[in-house]
């Protein structure tokens, strides 16, 4: 027997079936959390925003064609949440800058034991990549993460971002170029 489609589950959830909503959440939660983790760089925020995306799904359900997947809608809501969150963060940074008092100092960390070095180097590479990714403008970051990490086809990314496929391709290329620029000093060993 075929599993129920997203639109079937949406109809059930709209009729008040908690089981319908539960099945929808279980079906889509991991890609959404993973996408938001890469977009925000923070696991906790990613979970919180993913939950909010699903709550919005319940409160303002989209109109789904028969057999259509809910994933593009969820990714679109998640992207908008990131955008709005970053706008808010920019305003907060400005206020913090206006009312700053002193610079906190970072305590020195102890050198790692030699047996952990390899793991730490891999972690550092991931951290640098994540930091460079987080520094990209949302427009490029969203296209890049959806393509390179979520491995969505171009057509689906275009549906998520609401733009033509050609624009998606150009945003991905531009995003990749910006990322390479940012990571080049680290790759070349020039970064501190």
């Amino acid at each position: 027997m075929l599993p129920p489609s997203d639109s079937d589950l949406m109809t059930r959830a709209r009729a008040g079936s908690a089981e319908g909503l539960r099945m929808l959440v279980d079906r889509h939660k991991n890609p959404v959390v993973n996408y938001l983790w890469r977009m925000t760089g923070c696991r906790v925020r990613a979970e919180e925003m993913a939950q909010e995306s699903f709550v919005r799904l319940y409160l303002t359900p989209p109109r789904l064609d028969n057999g259509a997947s809910l994933a593009p809608w969820l990714f679109r809501v998640a992207t908008n949440l990131v955008r709005s969150e970053e706008r808010h963060a920019r305003r907060s940074r400005l206020v913090r800058w206006l009312f700053r008092t002193s610079n906190g100092h970072n305590p020195a960390t102890a050198p790692p034991p030699p047996d952990q070095e390899r793991r730490l180097l891999a972690q550092e590479a991931q951290l640098r990549t994540q930091q460079a990714l987080a520094a990209l403008p949302v427009t490029f970051r969203a296209a890049l993460v959806l393509r390179e990490i979520q491995e969505l086809p171009y057509e689906e990314i275009a549906r998520v971002l609401g733009c033509p496929v050609g624009t998606v391709r150009s945003r991905i290329n531009r995003g990749r170029a910006l990322l390479r620029e940012q990571l080049a000093p680290y790759w070349n060993g020039d970064a501190t």
């Binding site: 908690a18 539960r22 279980d26 709550v55 319940y58 808010h88 991931q126 990490i149 990322l179």
Partner: protein, 169 residues
């Protein structure tokens, strides 16, 4: 050779550039794919269900949602202050003494509000211009009779320093 075009750049430099580009591109793809994947926490679905059925919003967002209401309240207050101006009150009796007194009092309130607004704007401007100086450490010690006792730590520190050096003030 007829119609042959000169190369845009020396033929030797093009190949290494393209190769370096390809290497960097492959490295970037690998770096992105190497990023670990996250799964939702075990309590994720229950969290969504409880929030959805309760119709609640996260506490951090409550204030953000309240902003429009606060702005609307402020706009309503501004509008009511504008309506209190005598020029926009055509129905007011022209020569009734109590009404004139009321209008005068309201005008005075309005002037006071404008003064406060100007003072606040100047203060904000000052904060922007001198963010550090605006936060000199001051401790309020209390009240003695009609006098507020305030200790300016910057001056106190200066006094200590000059005292240590033994210089007369």
């Amino acid at each position: 050779v007829k119609n042959a075009r000169p190369p845009d750049r020396p033929p030797d430099s093009a190949a290494p550039d393209a190769e370096a580009d390809a290497v960097a591109d492959a490295r970037l793809t690998r770096a992105l794919r190497d990023l670990p994947h996250a799964d939702a926490s075990p309590t994720f679905t229950d969290g969504v269900l409880s929030r959805a059925t309760a119709g609640t919003v996260p506490s951090a967002r409550r204030w953000r949602l309240a902003y429009p209401a606060l702005l609307a309240g402020a706009a309503a207050l501004g509008a009511s202050l504008l309506l209190l101006r005598p020029s926009v009150r055509p129905l007011a009796p022209p020569s009734a003494a109590p009404t004139e007194a009321v209008v005068r009092a309201e005008l005075e309130q309005l002037r006071q509000l404008r003064r406060e607004q100007r003072d606040l704007a100047a203060e904000v401007e000052n904060l922007r211009a001198h963010p550090r100086e605006a936060f000199l450490p001051v401790v309020y010690l209390g009240r003695s009779g009609d006098i507020d006792l305030v200790l300016d730590l910057a001056q106190f520190q200066h006094g200590l320093r000059t005292g240590e050096e033994g210089e007369p003030r």
